[in-house]
């Protein structure tokens, strides 16, 4: 009885909040685009769009893995350090050819993910603690492998970083392909469904006989692999390996993209479209403020406002 009464009163409000959480990010992206078209000179140019897209690609790829981790009611803080580890491995193994170097880097990311997943699934360490440990360890390891910045001189890597087909940079194509792949996995595979069930109610998933450990481990292995790919692409674009600074605070940008995109931190939901839009929104926001010569501190404040808005919209959903 009480529940019905409650529903009646706050139905409109709850629906508003849900719509805001689900589609607010798209509205934000469109609004920013429109504002820029009107206000920013030279905004509408292929070159500008290309730059924005290339800049957002690594964050986007990392955020895909983060969305899976958050959907499983976890989080992966090690992604930034995995990017650093990846760049140092690329640099280290480039002598064997770019293909081998990239493969080693991605395998490195997967091993880190395996460590994260095992700590979480078998030992029962909380995801935030387990991945924090790996975050510190990987940054250290990356610096041991490659103590300082090193130029990456390799034609394949260079073309990966700046080449394009039909005017679309490889980086962007790869990011789009990965986003589609992850979206497909979440929507259409057994793994995707099991992941959502585990994130929503772990005890129920366990009693329903779901392979909870296996799913959690795969989540973190995939997240590690995606972060490593992002590291490779960032290396290719910068034509340099800098394990000290590459991927710094990347975990926070990725979490921001995921949360702004409407994936709730309490698990059970993964919105890939929203995550992509979330990453784009933050990128556009930064670019807009930079183009209007506002200091970087303004960008951070603007980001904070967006995050608070997203969390506020998600708050309603938390109470069910």
């Amino acid at each position: 009885m009480t529940q019905l009464a409650l529903r009646g009163e706050s139905l409109d409000r709850a629906r508003m909040m849900r719509l805001l959480q689900d589609y607010g990010v798209y509205v934000g992206v469109v609004a920013l685009l429109l504002a820029n078209i009107v206000l920013t000179p030279h905004f509408v140019s292929a070159e500008n769009f290309r730059t924005q897209a290339v800049q957002v690609a690594p964050v986007l790829i990392v955020a895909l893995g983060m969305a899976l981790a958050i959907g499983s009611e976890g989080v992966d803080l090690s992604v930034g350090s995995v990017m650093a580890l990846s760049t140092s491995l690329v640099s280290l193994y480039l002598g064997y050819g770019p293909a081998v170097a990239i493969l080693v880097a991605v395998i490195g990311g997967m091993v880190v993910g395996l460590a994260n997943g095992s700590l979480i699934a078998f030992i029962g360490v909380q995801p935030i603690v387990a991945t924090l440990a790996l975050m510190v360890a990987c940054r250290g390891l990356a610096n041991v492998f490659l103590p300082q910045l090193k130029d990456v001189r390799d034609p394949t890597m260079a073309s990966l970083g700046s080449g394009s087909v039909l005017g679309i940079p490889y980086l962007v194509l790869i990011a789009v392909a990965l986003a589609l792949l992850v979206a497909f996995t979440v929507r259409r595979t057994t793994f995707g469904r099991q992941l959502l069930a585990i994130g929503d109610s772990r005890p129920a998933a366990q009693l329903a006989g779901l392979p909870v450990r296996r799913v959690l481990i795969i989540v973190y292995v995939v997240s590690g692999a995606l972060a490593a790919i992002a590291g490779v692409l960032a290396t290719a674009r910068l034509t340099a390996s800098d394990p000290t600074s590459l991927g710094n605070l990347m975990e926070l940008s990725a979490i921001t993209a995921v949360v702004v995109g409407g994936t709730s931190l309490s698990g059970g939901r993964v919105r890939i479209g929203g995550t992509v839009a979330g990453a784009v929104l933050i990128q556009l926001l930064t670019a807009t403020l930079i183009k209007h010569d506002l200091p970087p501190s303004w960008t951070q404040i603007a980001q904070a406002v967006v995050i608070i808005a997203a969390v506020y919209a998600a708050r309603e959903r938390g109470r069910r």
Binding site: T190, R193, S201, A208, G209, R320
Partner: protein, 511 residues
Amino acid sequence: MSEPVLSVQGVTKRFPGALALDGVDFAAYPGEVHALIGENGAGKSTLIKVFTGVYHPDEGQVRYQGEPVDFGTPLQAQHAGISTIYQEVNLVPLMSVARNLFLGREPRNRFGLIDFRRMHREADEALRDLGVRVDVTRALRTLGVGAQQMVALARAVQVDARVVVMDEPTSSLEPREVQTLFRVIRMLRDRGIAVVYVSHRLEELYEVCDTVTVLRDGKLVHTGPIAELDRLRLVSLMLGRAMGEVQSEGLTKFSGEHDAGGEPVLSARGLRIRHTLHGVSLDIRPGEVVGLGGLLGSGRSETAKAVAGALPPDEGEVLVAGSRIRTGSTPAAIRAGISLLPEDRKAEGIVPGLSVRENIALAALPGLSRFGLVDEERVDRIVDTFMKRLRIKASGPHQKVGELSGGNQQKVLLARWLAMQPKVLLLDEPTRGIDVGAKAEVQKLIDELAEDGLGVLLISSDMEELIEGSDRVVVLKDGAVVAELTGDEVTEDRLLTAIAAQPQDLEGGRR
């Protein structure tokens, strides 16, 4: 007798949608051990929370030492002299025994620092008083649960408690520790302290308590000396069934007898879990509904969970159609054909944020997929079949399960398991908290499933449901099988008698 040290008169407490206490009177006298008993939802814990300051009564009065009181917080009640010892000891595990005993009132030396020597000496004396010998400098968590509870008790005595409330203190104790606890309880009683003792173990009540108060559905049903009440009468008061009451057949939707023949589809042999199960064995044949009877805490849910792999047993084996399966693994049990409908539907059953469709398909998903890709058409077909067959009322297959009524949530869970084509269904309180109409439907469904040849284990606190629904009832008590009722024996009288029976030689008994 003297004045009661703690009493409540006409206490009523309402929660949204439920009347937890309805005009309850209760009085604890100094030097008395007072048993407070009742089944799930009877209002025991609410009553305890009313006089320990956690809840405020909507109506009625709490009197302590003759004065009306209104404790704002549990801390105030504690300062006034009402100590509560919960099932899980609420002390600081990493601090030493002595620190725990003196927490918040440590003896100081003249510099205002803790006088450790005095503290250790006094702690040692206090515990020795209770007949407990431990090194008081050790961290509390290195002690056994029993010893920890003694420390909690010692603390209660030290702070000059006039009333000590114990909520199922023996649920995790060894038999030897139980005896120590009882000795301490008697010691407290002799010192003029009133002890309020909550437990489901009848033997303990008769051994240590002087007075008993029985609650049922938030109402006081009996209070008086425990010696004047025989066990059978006590059990019937708790469960609300009078002995020899005229059988009112046909109240539930069960038809009754099934043809159960052949080899058991499920056999559990000697299941043991520390403190919980002491060698439970049972058989279920295809087409048979086996009821699991017993009071709260007798190990019914634990038995079902152990069989379904959700609780790993320390010993014992589970056989499905004659072949042994790996215990302690839900996937193994499910593969073998065992399905469990858990007691806590909301927390352990449904996945609230997913749709009806995803919830039904959840367990069967690997079988409905090819190369890891879900075959949406097959899922749709199965979901459609079961939504129709079980008459699940939802706006459609894509409605979230969290939005459905309890009865429909339960049907979704049944559909999830039926989609697996199980051999055995373990149903733990399948009709609790669902409305009358849905209840009848679920009962009818259980009947149909048994007729189709499924083996069913039915756990229910609803006596009528258990008696009318089961072909056979296995009665559990303190984690062991005490009786098995078959055929004409499946009556409420026989069930009550079995539950109330004196312990003779319980398998792996507790003493």
